[in-house]
Structure formats: C-alpha cells, structure tokens
Amino acid sequence: MPAVNKDSIPGSVQDAYCLFIERGDRVRKEMLTGNAAAAWGVRLAEADYVPSYPITPQTEIIETLARWICDGSMDAKFVTMDSEHSMITAAGAASATGVRVFTATSSQGILYGFEMFYTVAGWRVPLVMVNVSRGLSSPITLEPDHNDILSTRDSGFLQIHCETCQEVLDSILIAYRLAEDERVLLPVIVNMDGFYLSFTREPVEVPDLKDVKTFLPPYRPKHAFFKASQPMAQGVAALGGPLYSYFKYQMHLAGLKALEVYHEISHEFRKTFGRKHGVCEGYMLDDAEYVLVMTNSFSTLGKAAVKRAREKGIKAGLLRLRLLRPFPGVDIATVMKSRKAVAVIDQNISVGKGGILHSEIASCLYNDETNPYMLSFIGGLGGKNISPVEFDFIFDSMIKTAETGKVPPEKLLYTESEWKEVERLKRIAGKG
C-alpha cells in the first residue's frame, strides 16, 4: 500500500489505516464506516476519474477520495461538478473515452441527474456508482429507504444492494468486473443505506492491492474509444421503432447476460478473497416454512427476528436480495418453492400500488404451481425502525395465512408508540 499522510483529520479513515500499518502485524480488519469502505473499494480498484457532487449522506465518500487524491495516495483526477446531472454526464463521457470512472450520489441527487442514468447506460459505459439510500422529498428527509435507488430500476444501470460495510467494499470490486465484462458493458450501482451503513463502523477487511489486481485487472478496454485516429459517433439518434427497439433490447439482453457473468465473477471473488457474495443470500432457509424477503441493512434486523422466531419453534428464514438488476427471478423462484408463506418487506412505496419488490417477486412465482402465499409489508420508510413486535406480527400473519388460505391486504409496519408520538406532534402543530 502507498504511504499514508499522517497529518490527516483526527478520527478519519486514514487514521484508522495508519494504526493498521503502524502495528505492522497481520491484523487485516479495521473499523470502517460504509462510506469509508466504499472509498477503499474505489481506491483499490484504482479508478482514474472521480466526478462528484456532495449530498448527505454520501459526502464522506468523495471527501475521502479527494483527500487521497490530494495527498498522492491515489492516482486519479477529482472534479466537483455543478450538479448530479452534470456529474453523471461527465462520468459517462469519461468512461466513453476509456478511463475507469467512479462517482457517488444519494436520493435527490439521483432524481436531479435522472435523465442521464438512461442516457449513459445507453452509451454502454462501464462506470461504477455508489448510491447511499435516503428517502425522497417531499417531505424532505435524511434517513434511508429505497425509492431513490429503485427509481433507476429500468434505466440500464445494474444494481447491487449491500447489508454490511465489508460487502460495500467487495461489491465495488465486483461491480467493476461486471460492468467492464465485454458481454455486459453496462454501468453498475452499489447501494448502501444512509446512516445505518454509511455512518456505522464495522470491522472490514481491506484486501491487498496485489490480490485486487489479480481479481480486477487494470482497465485496458478493447472496444472503440474517442481518439484522433479513430473518429466515431457515439450516442447518435436512432430514428424509427425497429432501430430503437434493436438498441434497447440489446441492452436488456446484456442485462440478462449479466446474471450468468455475475455468477462467474462471484465464484472467482470467493476463490481470491474467501468471501461469498451471491445474487441473493439465504439465512436459515434450508427447512424454512416462513420466509422474510428483505434488502440492504435492515436485513440484519430481519435475521435477528428469524433467530427469535426459531427459538419460539417457528420454522423461519430470510432471503436477502443483493442483485436487483439483473433480477435473479429463477434463483428466487427456486428458493420460494414449497414454502408455506413469504412476506416481502418493501422499504419503498410505489404510491397507488404498494411495495415494488413484492410485485417483482410475484411476477417470477406466478406460473409455478407450488407457489407460497405472498404477503406484502411496507416498512422502514425514511429509516423508520422495524421493531421485534412488528416482526412478530409478520410471522403471525404468515402462519395465519398458511392456516386459513386467506392472504391479508398489504400492511404498513407502524407501532402504537410511534402512532402516539405522531399524534402528540400533531397536537403541538395545532392539528390534534
């Protein structure tokens, strides 16, 4: 590893790393926030270019990268753009010119740059972005849910969702491999929850650069890039439905192909680093009859709930989705087969419809006769906690459904004390 500047800000990720190298031993785990883990992933991937724009709770990532680039420990160019719209454009254009690009955003930043998600995905550029999830305005808020990241669902960006800080670092390395694979050539977003992961320190193993280079070779693309001897037109208009359909569907096929490519990469990652990151993760699933489906950091709460349910004799399990694009429908359907009931906890809301993942999962189970009952819960909006009582309620509902065959309508997870608190605040506001 390159030398680290010791005059850095106290308490920063650099200090943590200084401690690690000064000890000189083989302790490989450090306490890193999700944001710092993301920055480490980018540093190890040796990204060349970081166009950026600050937004809470993502900013620590770009501040960390800016500091490393400034002190020479990372050989890249950093530029602050005038908006996320410009940031994604610069990222895509640089990627189309042949450098390895990283950028990061959150929440409103996705919406401000939204047009360019579709545009740069259509350029088929392999950039990697981190999104730190945060609920969308209005009302404006800070803590996480997934309407921000899920808004990019149809854009052509692939998506990996993380539960732990380690996973954030690892997924960035995987993301570059996936994006840059010639069978894929689509941008990838690595998602983590704001606050719960972005600002939470967890033990993270920072891999050796040597190992990273074996897994993720330097970026030397073979396909066409802008240079004087090779004039080309990129992002040109395609007029007429047949031509437009051709290009759009080609992206879709690449997206589908990415599933197979992901399995290869994930296998190689495990061989190199000893950690497994599948398209989804099963927890106590083997004999599970009642399965929770969750994503991102709240899955940790779900796993604790599964453990408690098991103690009570309920055959509970959890399926955590990691890859949402491409959508591992077959893998999910295989896992769901012959379970008694499944509860999807959507930390998002499609206004006027309900949980987004509930619909997506239902679509891949519909034609299978051994379908389990599927229940829908909306929980964790704007970072609202999901308490043990709420998980108990979910398991009770699943068991009741399996017994009666009657599937309850979608429910919002909300506790009585939370309701009372809202009532109290409404009284203060004169609306009681």
């Binding site: 454009t89 450098v99 004039p231 990129q234 040109v236 208009a237």
Partner: protein
C-alpha cells in the same frame, strides 16, 4: 492554418462537415458550423446538446470527419469535461499517444445555451475547462418548431409568443445577453461570429487557439423556416444583422471587449426586421411605430454605451 487569416483566400479548403445532412435549406447554423470545423480541423470531438444539430448524426450516418457525442439538453459542457479529463488522464498515465489528443468542442443551440444549459456552462467556465463552445443562435427553440427561448428578441413572433389582440408585439421581453453572462466569468476568449463573415470567424478561431481554457463563440444563425425568410437570403440577412448593428461582431480576451467589424454607416433596423416573417406583425396590418422605434433605440443605446467611437450614426 499556420498563416493569419486576413482574406477569404486564407480560409482552409479542408472540409470536415460533409454535405447530405437533413437540416433545412439555407440553415445559417450549418454554414457557421462548416466554417468552425474548417478552423478546428479533424482532430476534434463535438459534444452536442439537444438541438436541431442532434439530427446531423442519425444512425448509421454522420456527416462529420471528426468524432461526435450526443449528451442531452442541459449538460454538453459536462460531457466535454468528462472527455477532456479522460484524454488528459490517459495521456498523463502513458495510455494514450499525445498525437491522439482531440480538441473538445461543445455544440449547442440557443435553447440549451441561454436557458437549460447555463448551470453546466457556467461550471465549465468556472473550472477553466480547456474547450471550445459554439452556440448557433437562431433566437428560439428551432428544433421543436420555433418557440420562444431566452434568446428570442423583443418583438419576435414565435409559436409561444404569438402576436394578437392582447399582446400585439410578440415576444415582450428582451433577449438575454449571453455574451455578458459569459464575460462576467472572465474566460480567456469569447466572441460573436456570423456565417456572413467567414474571415472574421476564422481569424477568431485562430486567435482563440493560443488560449488554454474556455473559448466561447455565439453565432447569429438565420433560420429560414423560423424567421420566415427566403433560404437564399441567409447570407444577406446575416450581413444586414451586422450592418444594422443588431448583431455586433466582437471578441473579449479575459473580459476586454474589442469590436471586430464596425459598419461605417449603420443601416436602420427596420431593413432587417422587414425581411422576416417573424417581425411582419410590426408592419402589417398596421405599423407598430412604438415597437420598431424601441428596437432601434436598443441598438443605438448598445453602440452608444459599449463603443462611443463606433457610434457613427
């Protein structure tokens, strides 16, 4: 282009924009672009903002000998930033032969330049991005059929500023002064150009070459269908715009303005207005004396204030 550009004979014979494009007959913007690309040469990438010229490169054809990247409406300067930075990084890290370097050029209409693209343009100027920026200004959203933009002049009729009983002047407010908006950031070079003054245009590109940083050009681009004019009058109308003083040809080096073409005797703006359908309501069915006078006064006042020595009228 090693020699200074003093006469039409000094203009390069090189053509980097080939014929056969789908743009309208007599398009002033296309002629401007042809001259710009003669000056810039083949080692150029055009980063385009949504505009009429987005339809120059339609799969599988392109009229350019150079490269092209279409971005979106608001963000071509940001695309230019990405390309410029990537080329710099690749050359610095030894992954690209410096001979493969490209001039990075933003190409935009007035809709993006005056309105939606201001944030990304201002950002690129502020960061001193080494790029060229060409705005072909036809004074309205032309590609959507000629609607009012921030570049539409007072008195012009457009699809969204019709002239009628309630508002009989057409556009009721003045055109933004994009040159002055840019100049407030003191870029190394900015200029106005005209397709009717190719020598002035080429010499400005020649001069701009020496500066590293933003080099910005606005061309007044006659638009036959939008302006309601005969396509064969593009050059004469572009000349008239300069000779009436309505389109001052000038440049600013780090903010200091010089007028490069000053008519010996200014023609009345009425001559320019009368040539165009978009101003016809100022003369028929009744002459709007006040409005015509106001436009003339605006032009007079510009020349009085900006260049006292040039006020020959």
């Amino acid at each position: 282009m090693e020699k200074p550009v003093k006469s039409i004979k000094d203009i390069s014979l090189e053509e980097n924009l080939l014929p056969g494009t789908p743009v309208c007959a007599g398009c002033g913007g296309l002629l401007t672009l042809r001259h710009c690309l003669k000056a810039l040469g083949k080692k150029t990438i055009i980063v385009n903002a949504a505009s009429c010229f987005t339809l120059l490169s339609v799969y599988p054809f392109t009229p350019f000998k150079n490269s092209w990247l279409y971005t979106a409406m608001a963000c071509a300067p940001a695309g230019a930033q990405g390309v410029r930075d990537a080329l710099d990084i690749l050359i610095r890290k030894g992954r690209l032969d410096p001979a493969e370097d490209l001039k990075v050029v933003v190409l935009t209409g007035d809709g993006a330049a005056y309105d939606m693209g201001l944030s990304s343009t201002s950002g690129a100027i502020h960061r001193n991005l080494d790029f060229y920026y060409i705005c072909y200004d036809n004074e309205a959203y032309g590609n959507t059929g000629f609607q009012w933009s921030g570049a539409t002049p007072f008195g012009s009729r457009t699809g969204t500023t019709p002239a009628g009983k309630i508002s009989h002047t057409g556009a009721a407010i003045h055109k933004k002064d994009l040159f002055e908006i840019w100049r407030s950031q003191k870029p190394p070079y900015l200029a106005t150009i005209s397709p009717a003054h190719p020598v002035d245009l080429a010499s400005k590109f020649k001069k701009a070459e020496q500066f590293k940083g933003p080099k910005l050009f606005i061309a007044l681009a006659p638009c036959p269908p939008g302006w309601g004019m005969d396509p064969s009058h593009t050059i004469s109308l572009a000349k008239l715009a300069v000779n009436t003083g309505i389109w001052p040809l000038k440049e600013a080096v780090y903010g200091d303005i010089i007028h490069t073409v000053v008519p010996k005797k200014f023609k009345p703006v009425e001559e320019y207005l009368k040539e165009q359908g978009r101003f016809s309501h100022l003369f028929k069915p009744e002459r709007q004396e006040e409005t015509v006078k106001k436009i003339q006064e605006m032009v007079d006042s510009y020349w009085r204030l900006s260049s006292p020595s040039a006020s020959h009228r």
